[in-house]
């Protein structure tokens, strides 16, 4: 089995590759690729992203990989991470560029006027650090991960699905969708590759997931 990690020129994918290799053991080979034919030939696809969404979308367009990313999202176990996950929605408040529109909904900024905790203390943006993950719908990728487990986040924007796809929520200070899933696609806002044991468990579940 081959797992392709899509490299469209957006930053550091070292940890994504190394963490996938670790959990893949002898079940899968992991390849970092900017080659459409490699993505097309892969059994599963990981679609990461970091930095600003408009830059990511521009790099993705320049890479010529959009068609193969769409094909993968249509038929293979597909994992979007962070800005990769954000790109799967229709639009982001971070820029005027349209994104992939694989999911209905948009990506919004944490609104400054709401960034206060219950004690009245200011909440910082980016939302950076380890926050709790609350399961709202059972999903195979969450197998063996406790409700309330903490994952590592670093983001200023979050997605607002306009369809019923949320599987995990976090709160900062209000509840927002932290992971969404539909058919063969799972997309997560935080960084499993930086979330120690729990994150590695999620990635391991992806290695063994058949997309159902």
């Amino acid at each position: 089995m081959k797992i392709a990690i899509v490299d469209y020129g957006m930053g550091n994918l070292h940890s994504v590759v190394k963490s996938m290799e670790l959990v893949a053991e002898n079940h899968a080979s992991v390849v970092l690729t900017a080659d459409a034919s490699v993505i097309d030939a892969a059994d599963k696809v990981v679609f990461p992203g970091q930095g600003a969404m408009p830059d990511c979308m521009a790099h993705l367009e320049e890479s010529g990989l959009i068609a193969s990313v769409r094909r993968a999202a249509a038929e293979k176990p597909f994992l979007g991470i962070c800005v990769g996950a954000q790109l799967m929605f229709e639009q982001s408040a971070e820029g005027p560029t349209a994104s992939l529109g694989i999911f209905k909904g948009e990506v919004v900024r944490f609104p400054p006027e709401q960034m206060v905790d219950a004690q009245g203390q200011k909440l910082k943006v980016p939302h950076m650090g380890w926050n709790e993950m609350f399961i709202t719908r059972a999903h195979p990728l969450w197998h063996g991960i406790a409700d309330g487990e903490r994952f590592y986040f670093v983001h200023s924007y979050h997605f607002m699905p306009a369809e019923d796809i949320t599987v995990v929520e976090s709160a900062y200070p209000y509840r927002f969708a932290a992971a969404v899933a539909r058919d063969n696609i799972f997309a997560i806002q935080c960084h499993p590759e930086k979330s120690s044991t729990a994150g590695l468990k999620l990635l391991q579940n992806f290695v063994h997931w058949n997309g159902n």
Binding site: G11, A118, V125, H127, G129, W130, E132, Y152, V154
Partner: protein, 255 residues
């Protein structure tokens, strides 16, 4: 709030080894970076910060190998600082596996590096390290110092932090220079002044001697994260003990 306050052990690295200062006079070899990083990860460290203390510009690439090795085996966020002078340095460290790069002296001498690096790699990857100390007797005004605290700049610390936020810093690593190495606790008024002024997270550093100091940094200093070196390196406390103390004080932590 559910978002946990972070505890970040800081590791000084030179020639591929973690070192620790002993009574301000010498450096003692403290071990292999990968092994130490694994140990802190097992204890529940939320992130790790590596400070490249190599004095000369020779052997700069050694830190890249260290980061690459750690990032291949330890899957929590890694920040690297020390000797970052240009955007190309930031790129090299990120490509080696760092998640964030900390910019200190260069932020003062050439702040455009902060702006350019944030524009290129995203604010989430750029930490500005601020070394500040009080310049009046009642500890209400603080200025920025560079070159390990030796050079005064005349820059007001709070204004500087706000400027670095505007330049695109995603986080501030604030070291109380008048407390560093003293083990008497953070400079809390300084920490609070900066944390309350900016909208980005602030990591408090400098002066930690016991676990109450970590609690105070969050509760009194309003820090989003606390960084410490010697209390962990010399085995006085584990990261887990630190988190248990913070939880007992009512602070949200990841345990």
């Amino acid at each position: 709030m559910p978002l946990a306050k972070r505890i970040i052990p800081c590791l000084d690295v030179t020639a591929g080894r973690v070192v620790k200062g002993v009574n301000f006079v010498g450096l003692r070899d403290a071990g292999d970076p990968v092994e130490i990083a694994k140990k802190y990860n097992d204890q529940g460290a939320d992130e790790l910060t590596f400070l490249d203390i190599t004095a000369s510009s020779d052997n700069r690439d050694v830190i890249l190998h260290v980061i690459e090795a750690v990032a291949s085996q330890v899957f929590i966020p890694l920040t690297v600082g020390g000797g970052v002078r240009q955007v190309a340095d930031v790129r090299r460290l990120l490509n080696a596996g760092a998640d964030k790069v900390s910019i200190n002296t260069t932020a003062v001498t050439n702040p455009d590096v902060v702006r350019d690096a944030a524009a290129k790699f995203g604010s989430q990857a750029i930490v500005v390290a601020i070394d500040a100390k009080a310049v009046n007797a009642d500890n209400t005004r603080w200025e920025i110092f560079t070159h390990g605290g030796r050079n005064a700049t005349g820059l007001d610390a709070v204004e500087w932090a706000l400027k670095m936020q505007d330049y695109g810093a995603g986080e501030i690593l604030l070291t109380s220079m008048d407390r560093d190495g003293t083990k008497i606790g953070f400079n809390l008024p300084l920490t609070r002044a900066i944390s309350d002024a900016v909208n980005i997270p602030v990591i408090a550093s400098g002066g930690v001697g016991n676990l109450q100091h970590l609690v105070d940094g969050v509760k009194e200093g309003h820090a989003d994260a606390v960084l410490a070196a010697s209390i962990f390196h010399f085995g006085e406390y584990t990261v887990r003990e630190a988190k248990e103390a913070m939880r007992a004080a009512g602070i949200e932590v990841r345990l």
